[in-house]
Amino acid sequence: MIPVRIELRKTGFDGFAEVQEYRKSIPAVSDYGACSNFVGTMREYNQGDQVVSMYLEHYSGMTEEQLEAIVGKAQNDYEVLAALLLHRIGEVQPGEDIVAIAVWSTHRKDAFAACRDIMEALKSTAPFWKKEQLQNEDRWVKNNSPGQ
């Protein structure tokens, strides 16, 4: 069994610190020579408006199952020696991390491709919805643009 951790987190985290910590839990000197890591962070401005805070809704049970399927597909398509997928839920403040993905592989090609594919699949199939609190109103974010 390769090490995989998938987690929804209610409280703030530093994506890079999480990846660093996670790596300590997998064999120290292993066959991995490459790690591609992605960290998505809440911006203060979206579509020209200042965002005071954001609420991340999810579908408990289905969201976890989708994330497992997404990482499973990457393991199927690429050489994945270890993987971490951490996603924030609940109330989020600007500057806080929303998602952290890390994929370890022997070489960079598979690490980059698997990390990228997981991120794209997460954006298109994992049930999360963002509601932005602006200064005078709330709004649901309409949709994610593919590949942007």
Binding site: L56, L122, A126, W140, N143
Partner: protein
């Protein structure tokens, strides 16, 4: 038959329904179910999951199903 219907995000706010138990006798597909609950045709941008798996608008519902309707997802 008994169907558990769930709405998420903007659809939850629009329908005013988070979760609801429906006696869905006479309904065949998830589209029928949507029409019965919201009194409008199912929009093609709306996503549907039955028992936490994505399905198409013509998916046949059966007794005990949990049917979820939600808008385009915006995570990551």
């Amino acid at each position: 038959m008994a169907i558990k219907v769930r709405f998420f995000a903007s659809l939850r706010e629009q329908t005013g329904i988070s979760r609801k138990q429906i006696a869905a006798d006479g309904l065949e597909t998830v589209s029928d179910l949507w029409l019965a609950v919201t009194e409008a045709p199912l929009d093609e941008t709306t996503l549907v999951a039955v028992n936490k798996t994505y399905v198409g608008p013509d998916y046949q519902i059966t007794d005990g199903d949990e049917v979820a309707f939600f808008p385009p997802i915006t995570g990551g």
